[in-house]
């Protein structure tokens, strides 16, 4: 474990690309059928960029996000996350990488209902083995950052959708990730709240966070600097602003 930490540490310093995908394929076997979810995807995501992955349902955007999020391993091809080759890692290694390098934001917020806002934000720090006092301090700072410092002792159910998504964003930042992965972060929110959340993400990007977001709404995608259009498991085109 300490060895893998070290190698992550050493490789992160001098790469401009946070993500490097080379000919990534993902194939599922459903009964006798073989589904090609990703076909020859090559992509380089620079540090500090903001990406939107777009495309119709079934085009492979979720699969791409899962691969990027180290929840799924590519069937073939190479995936370098901050210089670390993901395809060689086992389940523990992938978990370790998620813990140290990645932050997730979901459409349905995915907070743990039994825990308070503060405890939800602290969760990554808990798995990092951070001590309780420092974790609490950091969680309160992050709650403040997303504008919820007066709600830290509330439970998710007592918050509005927008507030819950803010908590989720705070949680995704707790481990200071190399990349934030957002899966339709505004999908469950009204337009006003969506704007606020997108503004928050844009702010984070301005502060240097690398963000990759899946969405199917053009106006949401307009906050980003790079748009990746997918179709049938492959990249259709990339638009850069």
């Amino acid at each position: 474990m300490s060895q893998s930490e070290e190698s992550i540490e050493s490789s992160s310093t001098n790469t401009a690309s946070v993500v490097e995908l080379e000919d990534v394929q993902k194939t599922y076997h459903v009964g006798d059928h073989t589904v090609n979810a990703l076909i020859d995807v090559s992509l380089s995501i620079k540090k500090g960029s903001f990406w939107a992955i777009m495309g119709p349902s079934g085009s492979g955007k979720s699969t791409l996000l899962n691969v990027l999020g180290c929840l799924d391993r590519p069937t073939s091809g190479r995936y370098l996350l901050v210089g670390q080759d993901v395809s060689t890692l086992d389940d523990n290694g992938l978990s370790e990488l998620r813990l140290r390098r990645l932050g997730f934001i979901f459409q349905s917020f995915n907070l743990i209902p039994q825990l308070t806002v503060q405890e939800n934000i602290e969760l990554p720090l808990f798995y990092l083995g951070e001590n309780a006092r420092l974790s609490a301090k950091k969680a309160i700072e992050l709650a403040d950052l997303v504008g919820l410092s007066d709600r830290v002792q509330h439970r998710p159910m007592e918050l509005s959708g927008g507030q819950q998504q803010r908590v989720a964003i705070a949680r995704s930042l707790a481990n200071d990730p190399a990349i934030l992965l957002a899966d339709e972060p505004t999908g469950n929110l009204d337009s006003t709240t969506s704007t606020q959340i997108m503004q928050l993400l844009a702010d984070l990007n301005n502060q240097g966070k690398t963000i990759v977001m899946v969405t199917h709404e053009e106006d949401i995608a307009s906050y980003t600097s790079n748009k990746l259009y997918m179709i049938d498991g492959g990249i259709e085109r990339i638009e850069r602003n």
Partner: protein, 423 residues
């Protein structure tokens, strides 16, 4: 090291929290463990109390002793059949000396003649069990003296008319002047009270060599005053019996040789007493038997307890499996954040162990309460042993681990992507 300790304490905190969130469900889940552990401790306490009392009674007999009683044979043979209206049976003076001389392992033998006579002091009277014996009686049936002295060798040699009575008899016969030096009429003869001794404590099911209305006199004086022929009146007829000795207590030097010596004595007596007019009582054998009974009892109780704990464990596993399904999404979230499989296993395992240990602790409380109630209501002696406490805590922990591992592994094997999609 400190990091992992911190991790575990936080996991335990989290586990307790999760369980308190579903308070009612956790409580119901624990019930199996509560009653399982409670009944184990209670049953063992009752068993321990009962056997302890039995063992204490047996020890009163003296575990180094072999007690031989004269028994009136069912079919009378030999001398007694000649219409003398006198039955002749029982142990002989010769038996005592034969035992003493034959077995090297015998430390001493103690003859006793036992008859029932009325004791009388002025107006007060009491049916006494008069025991004619030697000074050794007081070594073998060791009871504390209340006042005065024991019978001495000199008393035996000189056929003195002296008597040692029990505290009980002294209270009945000498209520006003509760002192030694009094003269008691026993049957037709007078004896001086030289000592008062404590009688056997419990009136148990087991017959102790001494009884509460005993009067001990020198065996020599007994023969002189009353002879070897005793007359018993029963249902209008008089039965005359010739019995030399009613009882011989044999003290064996080493406890290891008690059973072998008893066997030897039995064989020897069988040779001289064809009509089997004697009975051997070996307290050590009784002790062994009682201990064996206790072991069997414990095995039976243990099996019942094991079944109830098994049921309790299955109950916990059932609920934990439901909990895993219910919290699939939570597991997905934790995995996405970076929790390893082992950490998920740890989380659920800790929860199960906390649940079963909490059940076990409440069960221990119940295990103290039930025996207390039994003692109070039924008056039965009970004793909660430390071993049963340690055992039940250990078992409840083991149950938590054994029945927790499957649900925990199920949780850990969930695919994070699937788990996150779970509604």
């Amino acid at each position: 090291m400190r990091k992992s300790t911190r991790y575990i304490t936080r996991e335990i905190e989290l586990g307790v929290k999760n369980l308190t969130l579903h308070g009612m469900r956790s409580l119901l889940t624990m019930l199996g463990m509560v009653f399982g552990v409670g009944s184990v401790i209670a049953m063992l306490a009752v068993g321990e109390g009962a056997s302890k009392e039995a063992l204490a009674q047996i020890r009163m007999l003296g575990s180094n002793n072999i007690i031989i009683h004269s028994v009136k044979p069912v079919k009378e043979t030999g001398r007694s059949t000649v219409r003398t209206f006198m039955s002749v049976y029982g142990l002989l003076y010769d038996d005592e000396s034969r035992i003493k001389e034959t077995f090297e392992s015998v430390k001493q033998t103690l003859p006793a003649k036992i008859i029932r006579k009325e004791g009388r002091v002025g107006e007060n009277s009491l049916e006494l069990r008069v025991v004619g014996t030697t000074s050794s009686w007081f070594d073998l049936v060791n009871r504390p003296m209340v006042a005065g002295r024991r019978l001495l060798k000199k008393d035996i040699f000189e056929h003195r008319n002296v008597v040692v009575i029990t505290e009980f008899a002294a209270r009945k016969l000498l209520p006003k002047n509760y002192t030694i030096g009094q003269r008691i009429r026993i049957g037709g003869s007078y004896f001086d009270v030289v000592g008062i001794i404590q009688q056997a404590h419990s009136e148990g099911t087991l017959q102790t060599p001494d009884q509460k209305n005993d009067a001990y006199i020198p065996i020599t004086a007994m023969r002189e005053h009353y002879g070897d022929v005793f007359t018993q009146r029963s249902a209008g007829s008089r039965i005359r019996e010739l019995v030399e000795l009613h009882q011989i207590i044999v003290q064996v030097k080493e406890i290891e040789k008690v059973e072998a010596t008893a066997k030897g004595i039995e064989t020897m007596l069988a040779y001289f007493h064809k009509n089997k007019d004697y009975r051997l009582q070996v307290p050590l054998a009784l002790l062994r038997q009682a201990e064996a009974t206790k072991r069997t009892f414990n095995i039976v109780l243990g099996s019942i307890a094991a079944i109830s704990l098994l049921v309790g464990g299955i109950g916990i596993m059932n609920i934990m499996l439901a909990s895993v399904t219910e919290r699939t999404r939570e597991i997905g979230i934790r995995r996405a954040i970076g929790a390893k499989r082992n950490q998920i296993i740890g989380q659920f395992l800790i929860e199960t162990v906390v649940l079963s240990m909490a059940g076990g602790l409440i069960g221990i409380g119940l295990g103290f309460f039930i025996p207390w109630l039994i003692t109070r209501i039924a008056g039965m002696p009970t004793e909660v042993t430390t071993i049963s406490l340690i055992l039940s805590l250990g078992i409840s922990m083991a149950i938590g681990i054994i029945f927790g591992i499957y649900p925990a592994r199920r949780a850990a094997q969930l695919d994070p992507i699937q788990a996150l999609r779970h509604e």
